[in-house]
Amino acid sequence: MTDRLAIEVNDLTVAYREQPVLWDVDLEVPEGVLMAIVGPNGAGKTTMIKAILGLISPAAGQILVHGKPYRQQRRLVAYVPQRGTVDWDFPTSVLDVVMMGRYGALGWLRRPGRNERDAAMAALEMVGMEDLAHRQISQLSGGQQQRVFLARALVQDARVYLMDEPFQGVDARTERAIVGVLQELRAAGDTVVAVHHALQTVPEYFDWVTLLNVRRIAAGPVDEVFTEENLRLTYGGRVPFLSGNGGNGGDRGNGGESLGAVGAASDLAGERASHGNPAG
């Protein structure tokens, strides 16, 4: 970790049909950290990522990546969307999807060739999918889909990785593979920002955390800001895992889901407002 900032967000405000989704959010992500964004449904986590990527134009605010506006630094940033955002019945193969990560570097008109293929195979190896390179994407499990998206971001060879719920509904093997990749990225000095739902795994997987609920509740190193009080402020008083069974054991996938559900219940109004909008 260095003192330089990978991402700097100032006064970010995003509104969707007059509803504020993010309100006056400041955020500083130091280079080389793994940061989780947590918060209830409708808190604006996805919106935050999309605003950093320029996919949503904010009502106000400034976003810097490695010290310069995002538009000048696009090559430094890779994106792992929620896997439900595409049609997995699209007629294409795993290798083909991963190679899409190189399209930006290729630019207009140029076709992917041997270099792109090699890069894609290396990325697939990193996520443990090299045997499935030629598989049709319609035949993948949810966890495999997630790893394909991760591999597609890895071939971008970026310095900052923005991931939207990379652990959502994946199998244990995929979860291990993703955690392994995150650690490799950190070791290489890269920065990862991931929307995350399973609160009990935050201390284990991440070293930095932002608690978000339309406003920024807290942000900083996990051992400083990931406190019961901050979680109560974020989730509106009901945070089951702190009082419930131990955080590290048991089935994490299910734990994450139930937490998500409680988050939804604690912020029904927010969720209703966000239904079908980019904040989801």
């Binding site: 940033v77 969307p81 595409v86 049609d87 699209f90 007629p91 999807v97 399209y103 930006g104 992917p112």
Partner: protein
Amino acid sequence: MDLLFQLFQDYTLRTVALGAAALGIVSGTLGAYAVLRRQSLLGDAISHAALPGIVLAFLLTGSKSTLVLVLGAGVAGLIATLIVMTVTGVSRVPEDSALGIVLSVFFGFGLVLLTYVQKLPDARQAGLETFLFGQAATLLERDVIVIASLGAVALLAVLLFWKEFKLLSFDREFGATLGFPMRVIDVLLTTMLVLAIVIGLQTVGVVLMSAMVVAPAAAARQWTHGLGRMVVLSALFGGVAGLSGALASSSAPGVATGPAVVLAATAIVIVSLLFAPARGVAWRALERRRRRREIREDAVLLDLYALAAQHGMREHAHPADVLVAMRPGVGVEGSLDALAEHGYARRSGDRGWVLTKDGRTHARDLLDQERDRS
């Protein structure tokens, strides 16, 4: 055979065939993207919306040259598309409603104009009404040249922007994060779709042209898992449908080309939906039946194994009636015969059955697999 002979001899027929095949190839190619992007209805809206453009182009220029009319159709089609995009962008009207409204308003306006033009005391307008259902027989060599050259532009765009169009169709937002101007790529692809549609209107007609966009692509999707192969196959299906429809209507006087082309395309779709491997209905039904039969056979095999286990694994024959009683109504007798065929079981005495050595091994494998799964 006679038709094929005529194709080489008859100049008119050859012109018609060439034009229809060319427009089919182009609409098949661009249709593949429309279907993958779930924009089938957009094709329908564009083709219907082209009608007022055709009539207005004639009214403004007094010309019935294909290029002028196609240009009018294209402008109207593009305007309609832009209206749909704007309406869905700024209001809460869902896209299908916007498409429906634009389609009927433009088409209605086109019909009004057409009726008006037909009442003009001037004979030059004769023939504009063939744009409704299409008339391949009216194709001249210069029309085919227009179709082929505009179509070549659309095909060239697909070839050049292959990677960009794929990105747009699969994951538009990701493409935007890579720095591609996805809206520009969208407008480009949609313009090519408009081009593919308007060059077919004279032959197929505004009412049915959308079938030439959707049907070949839907059929092609059944046969393949790669975008490249799907686009090529869709072009091929479109070409075949265009060609056979145009030939059918030319050899049977009074048959409009549009319906004939659509019937040909439909036949391709039906065959594809039924018989394509992996995705076809018939293929899947066969596969399901085969699986069910295997499951039944395995079940009977395991019953036999269980009975043998109860009797200390001795080669003790068990009457078929006992097995039938264990699984009533699932065709145990047939399964036993199948097991015998595989060498897993054999008859022993009158109505008695015994597992073979292979059968016992297979049963143990099945039990192991089941344990692994749970």
